[in-house]
Structures are given as structure tokens and as C-alpha cells.
């Protein structure tokens, strides 16, 4: 039986217009204060950046097909620029804003039952900060580019002749403030705009994840801001606190940088985990298992995130005592992460699983995150890390987490909410095919890098010994397969905008508030304040042939919750 559950009435009343048609013209978008439009603008910008970052990834992989030069004209120096740009674009322009700023902006206020985020003007300002940050990063290319790696390690970043370093640092500084203001907005929104009845422990898990992320954004990102500022001054005046010739300390930069950038990894992964909680519960049509544990594990991960930065620096010469402490605390991150994975698996158990595209992405996430998480243990272990540090093993590990988990989670979420955002259904078959292609391509690309890394191939190298070539060739082929999968995704998503079937209000059978408003939502989200129940109780939701979507069945609802049914009948 395809039917399932639910707890809430769906407000599927057809409204005369939606947020896309409410006003029109370029200015109505450029100066919009509507969180949904800002979310869409972020999404378009982030996906364009993803394309650019992806092109650089393919260039890097193609260059590595053979030892020495492969692409004519790509010298070792140019190659350094390529991987730096790939890293910087993917981290600062794509993954960090992808879920909170793009999907979060669109979905969070609706899920919360609010009309908008707390500070709509600040929200638009954050978006333009992102645009300016991106422009500065592009300008750095015109000024001679930057080849420091996305980590900007001193003393190389203060001495490299590449001309675009200051512009790139300024760009990342501005992007940081974009991220801070988004976080600030979300913290206040979650605290102050929850409607009556939406208690903390009734919030959808995606909101818990976004909230935990926002806390990290406002606490950690200012430290990156000051670090980049000090670095800019140092590079401009050739003196500063990271300069050892004057008594400064280059390792201090690493401490500062990772004090932000390790939490930043959780800025990337936490919202993806929130998405997975939604996807798994909705597409398995089963109440999420261990709600409180999943919610609190997000907070636990946020707290741990500030205490583990030193595990990036085991071989930097920091004291053995610090190394041991950082190693220990890093291991403990495994606990909240595993709490989540086991709860998701328990949710799937005996669930009514529908293997549509978002669910396939959620399952991919489970596999890839488990691999990414478990390989983290090798790197948190002091003695194995000495061998694996700065090898392809690290590259593999963080791609499994940052791409295989964070980005795959984002793309799963994009498919999940695509009908809500655009009002159109995409081609489900192509969606599944593309997901499988991406999954295969991803593993061919990065699983291979285990072998490279454990055999000692250092990361970021332009040239390598012939014995590594076979792995590099396989890895590059994998990256082409992945590119194919993403291009297919881009194709059918675009096609759905023009020829896709109109989306029903609730295509998947979700119970949270965003499925209560029409697809696409009206400009003010809800005509009247929605009633808040248990968003993971699907017992009164059933498939409706006529609607081609899910609806609340009053009969089912009466048997499940007579009180609510009586209220809704008014």
C-alpha cells in the first residue's frame, strides 16, 4: 500500500499567485527581501560556482593523467593555480553557502511556519556580500591569481610572487562576513520566530542542524576574519605576527586558520545531516527514529568542532601533550556522528522505502559519509597520521566528507525541495540514473586515492613516479563519469522548468510545514498561521490519485488523533 501517514491539514487552497509570479522584472529580484527569492538567487550563484570549481577539478585531474606535463601549456605553476582555485571556489563559494544560504534560506522560514527570516534586509545584504566576495576572488585571477592552496599557509602566502593573493584574501574575508550575517539571521529567526506550538523539540531536524551551523558560523568565522586581515596587512607591509624573521610565528597562522576551518567543515556537513534526516524519514514514510538524539548530536558536533582543530597540525611541531588531547577529542566526534547514522538506519528499518532520487542521494550519503567518517579515524590517530599526512589519503578523506557527504546531501535536498521551489517535477528516471552515475563516478575517483595515499603519493604534486600512474588514470576516469552525472542532472533539472509536470503541494508525503503550502509557495508563505504538530508523524497522509500527490485523509486522521481532526474540521 502506498499510503502512509500524517498529522496535519494541508493548506492546498489555490492562491492567485506565488512568490515567482507575485511581482516581476529584474529589480523585483535584485532588491527582493523575500527569503525564497534570495534563496533561489543564492542557489543559482552557488550552482554556477560549482560548475566553475568543477571545471578546475577536471583540469587538475586531466593534468594528472600522466607524470609531468599532460595538458599543453599547463606548467607546474599553472597547475598550482588550478588546484588552489578548485579548493577555494568549492569551499568558500560553493559548499559553505550551499545548504544554509541557498536551501536554508528558502526552506527554513517555511518549515518554521514563519513569514520570513528575522532580518530580511540583512539577508539581502549577505547575498550581495557573497557576490562581492566572489567578484574579488575572480579579480584575483586578473591580478595574477593565487597559488597558495585554499588554506593560505604562511610563510608561503606572504612570500609567493603570485599577484592576486591580497584580492583573494579580501574576497574570502567578505565571504566570511556574508556567512556570519546569514548565521546571525538564522539564530535570531529560530529563537524568535517559532510559531505557537513549535517548541524546540518539535522543530524539524533540518532546523536543528541549521541552528547548530549558525552558531558555528557566528562564533568561528570572525576568527577567520581577523586572521585574513592580519595576513593581508602582513603581505602588504612585509611584516607581521606570522613572520618568523621578526619573532612572529607561522604556525600561529595554522592555529588561527584551523580554529575556523575545522568548525567550517561542520558548517558544511551539519546542514547536510539535517537534510538527510528529512529525506530518510519522508521517503521511508516512517517516523524518524531517535529524534532527540539526532537533534542533540547536532549541538554536540557543534561544540566538539571548536576543540579539535589541532588534529590538522600533528606534524607541525606542536607539543605531544596537545597532540594527544586533540587526537582524543577528535575521536569523540565519532560518537555524535555515529548516533546520527544509527538513527537513520533504524528509521529505514521496516520503513516503506521509496527509492526515488532524493532517497537514492540519502542512501549514497550514508555509504559515503560512513567511509569518510571511518577514514577520519586513521587521520586522528597520531602515529598513522604521520604517515598519511599530506598524502592523497587526506584528499580522499575530505572529499568523502565534503563532497560525498555535504555536497551529495545538498543535491539530495535540491531534488527533495525542487518541486517546492519551482513548482515542477523533474524526470524521475533520469534523476535516478544520474544519481547512480554520480555515485559510481565519485567512488571510482576517490576510492582509488586511498591506494595512492597509503602508498605515499603526496597531495598537490604536479609530477609523480610512474608506479602511481594507473591509480591517477582510474581516478581521472572517475571524475569524467561524475561530470557526466552532474551534466545530466543539470539537463533534466533545466528541462523540468519548461516541460515538467506541475508539482502537487506534497509530492513526497512530507509532514513538515513547507508541504502545507502550495508549490511554489505564495509570497507570504502562509495565509494564516499554520497549526504545528509532530512533523514526522505520517499516519494520516495518503496518496491521492486525483491530486497526484499526498493529502491528509480526515478518516485516517480521526483514527490517529481525534482531537486534531476535530480542530481541523472547523
Amino acid at each position: 500500500m502506498t499510503t502512509i501517514n500524517l498529522s496535519q491539514p494541508l493548506d492546498t487552497t489555490v492562491r492567485p499567485d506565488n512568490y515567482l509570479t507575485h511581482t516581476s522584472g529584474f529589480m523585483s529580484w535584485a532588491f527582493t527581501l523575500d527569503h525564497k527569492r534570495i534563496g533561489v538567487m543564492y542557489m543559482v550563484s552557488v550552482l554556477l560556482s560549482f560548475f566553475v570549481g568543477g571545471v578546475f577539478a577536471l583540469l587538475v585531474r586531466t593534468e594528472l593523467l600522466t607524470p609531468g606535463q599532460t595538458i599543453p601549456g599547463v606548467t607546474a605553476d599553472v597547475y598550482n593555480h588550478f588546484f588552489t582555485l578548485h579548493g577555494a571556489i568549492m569551499v568558500f563559494l560553493v559548499i559553505i553557502p550551499s545548504i544554509p544560504a541557498a536551501l536554508g534560506n528558502f526552506i527554513m522560514p517555511i518549515m518554521l511556519g514563519a513569514k520570513d527570516v528575522a532580518f530580511p534586509r540583512l539577508n539581502l545584504f549577505s547575498y550581495y556580500l557573497w557576490v562581492f566576495g566572489a567578484l574579488f576572488t575572480v579579480c584575483s585571477l586578473l591580478l595574477g591569481g593565487f597559488d597558495t592552496g585554499w588554506t593560505f599557509y604562511t610563510p608561503y602566502s606572504t612570500t609567493t610572487p603570485a599577484g592576486g593573493v591580497i584580492a583573494a584574501l579580501t574576497g574570502v574575508f567578505i565571504l566570511g562576513f556574508s556567512s556570519i550575517f546569514t548565521g546571525l539571521n538564522f539564530v535570531v529567526t529560530v529563537h524568535k520566530l517559532r510559531p505557537p506550538g513549535m517548541t524546540w523539540f518539535r522543530m524539524p531536524l533540518f532546523l536543528w542542524a541549521i541552528y547548530a551551523t549558525a552558531i558555528i558560523q557566528v562564533l568561528a568565522t570572525p576568527v577567520l576574519g581577523i586572521t585574513l586581515l592580519l595576513l593581508i596587512v602582513e603581505r602588504a607591509f612585509n611584516i607581521g605576527i606570522f613572520d618568523p624573521s621578526m619573532g612572529g610565528d607561522p604556525v600561529l597562522f595554522q592555529h588561527f586558520f584551523w580554529f575556523y576551518s575545522h568548525p567550517a567543515v561542520y558548517i558544511m556537513i551539519l546542514p547536510a545531516m539535517g537534510i538527510i534526516s528529512e529525506l530518510i524519514s519522508v521517503h521511508a514514510h516512517r517516523h524518524i527514529f531517535g529524534y532527540k538524539f539526532i537533534a542533540l548530536s547536532s549541538i554536540a558536533i557543534a561544540i566538539f568542532s571548536f576543540l579539535v582543530w589541532g588534529h590538522h597540525m600533528f606534524i607541525s611541531g606542536q607539543s605531544p601533550l596537545l597532540n594527544t588531547l586533540f587526537s582524543l577529542i577528535s575521536f569523540s566526534v565519532a560518537i555524535p556522528s555515529a548516533v546520527k547514522v544509527f538513527n537513520w538506519m533504524s528509521t529505514l528499518y521496516k520503513g516503506n522505502i521509496v527509492l526515488n532520487t532524493p532517497m537514492l542521494y540519502a542512501l549514497s550519503f550514508l555509504v559515503l559519509f560512513t567511509i569518510g567518517g571511518l577514514t577520519g579515524i586513521h587521520l586522528a590517530t597520531l602515529n598513522t597520521d604521520v604517515h598519511l599526512h599530506d598524502t592523497y589519503f587526506v584528499v580522499e578523506h575530505f572529499h568523502y566528507v565534503m563532497m560525498g557527504s555535504a555536497l551529495i546531501g545538498m543535491i539530495g535536498g535540491l531534488h527533495h525541495w525542487w518541486p517546492k521551489m519551482t513548482g515542477r517535477m523533474y524526470n524521475e528516471t533520469l534523476g535516478r540514473v544520474a544519481c547512480v552515475i554520480v555515485f559510481i563516478g565519485f567512488n571510482v575517483t576517490f576510492f582509488t586515492q586511498f591506494f595512492l595515499g597509503s602508498q605515499g603519493m603526496p597531495r598537490r604534486y604536479y609530477d609523480y613516479l610512474p608506479e602511481y600512474q594507473i591509480y591517477h588514470v582510474i581516478s581521472t576516469i572517475g571524475s569524467y563519469i561524475m561530470a557526466l552525472g552532474f551534466l545530466l542532472t543539470a539537463y533534466y533539472l533545466m528541462a523540468s522548468l519548461f516541460g515538467g509536470r506541475r508539482a502537487p503541494a506534497n509530492p513526497w508525503g512530507g509532514g513538515s510545514l513547507e508541504w502545507q503550502c502550495s508549490s511554489p509557495p505564495p509570497f507570504d508563505n502562509f495565509a494564516k498561521q499554520p497549526r504545528v504538530g509532530d512533523c514526522y508523524n505520517f499516519s494520516a497522509i495518503r496518496w491521492d490519485e486525483k491530486e497526484q500527490g499526498y493529502v491528509v485523509d480526515p478518516a485516517l486522521q480521526a483514527s490517529v488523533n481525534p482531537n486534531l481532526a476535530a480542530k481541523n474540521s472547523h
Binding site: 511581482t23 513569514k115 557566528v218 618568523p244 619573532g247 508563505n525
Partner: protein
Amino acid sequence: MAIKTQTVVDPFAGAPQRFAAGVLGMWVFLIVIAMLFLGAIMGYLVVRLHPDPAEPFIPKGATGLPGVLVFSTIALMASSYFMRLATQKVRLAQWQHAHAAMSATLVLAMVFLALQIIAWVTLWRNNIHFGDSLYAWTFYVLTGLHALHVLAGFIPLIRAWSKTARRAYSPEHPEGIVYCEMYWHLLGAIWLMLYFTLWLGMRT
């Protein structure tokens, strides 16, 4: 049914909710600024506590922090006091007092900046140049960063000053001046911490 043309959706149910959200937003913003300065101070302490053995952190000729900083500290603290007073008077609807207090805040803020400039000039004349030593670098960068935040604070200060003149606040709606006060006290607190750190850094 007429289609609404309104495009700006008010997310709040009423003014009290908006005010509460604004205050929380300001608190988060203050935490952001505080983290920025905490990072800077940590950086200073690391290079100060682990100096290059070959080169003393405090170069020859440096005789201590410029004495004028004592007066700039007093100016900023007094400015903070008058800011507090201004908010209180707005809540009591005593407009003339509120405006006078805001004027005092603004003048003292200018005095603070002027004294900071005197401190930099004094140091520079004593041959403590920006690029010569980490001691000079950290002093100019840290105090400069703080001064920049004070300078930015003039925007809300002048706004609050002009609004008290126009009686644009009401005892029930003192939002703007309350936010301004929160920011201003934070800058005072950060300056005290910064000054203490720099003073500590001069001890050997």
C-alpha cells in the same frame, strides 16, 4: 479577489517581538565583534610570550605605552556613561537631557579618537615605526582596528543624536538608541581589555 501588491512581508507579529529579535540580533553581533578582537588579542599574546630569543620584543627606545592613552581611556568610559544616560532619558521621555547626553557621548567619542591619533604620532616621533618591529606592528594594528570600529560607531551615534534632537524615539520604542548603546559599551569593554593586554605586554 484582489491580488495584494505588497512585497515586503513583515516576519514579526508585533513591535515587542521585533524589538526582542533586534536585541538578540545585536547580542549575536556583539559576540561576532568580540570573537574578532579575542582572536587578535590571542595572536598578540602568542607572539609576545614566545619572542625571538635573538631580538627582544620591545625594541630599544620604547619607553612604554604613550601616557595619553590614560586620558583616551577616561574619555571613552565617560562617553559610555553618557550613552547610558541618554538611553535612560529617552525611556523617561526627557528629550532635552537625552539630546544633551548624546551630544556629550559624541564629543567624547571624538576626543577619544583625537587622543588615539596623538598616541600614534607620539609613538612615531619616538621612532617606533610600523614596519620596524612586531611591538610597533601589533600596537598600531590592534589600536587601529579598535579605532576603525569606533569610527564606524559614529554612524549609529550621529543617527541617535539627531533622532533625540527630533524626538523621533518614544519611551515605548527606543530601539535604535538601545542597539547603539549596546555596540558602544562593547567598544568600551574591548578597549579596556586591549589596553590591559598592551600594558601587560610592556611588563618584562
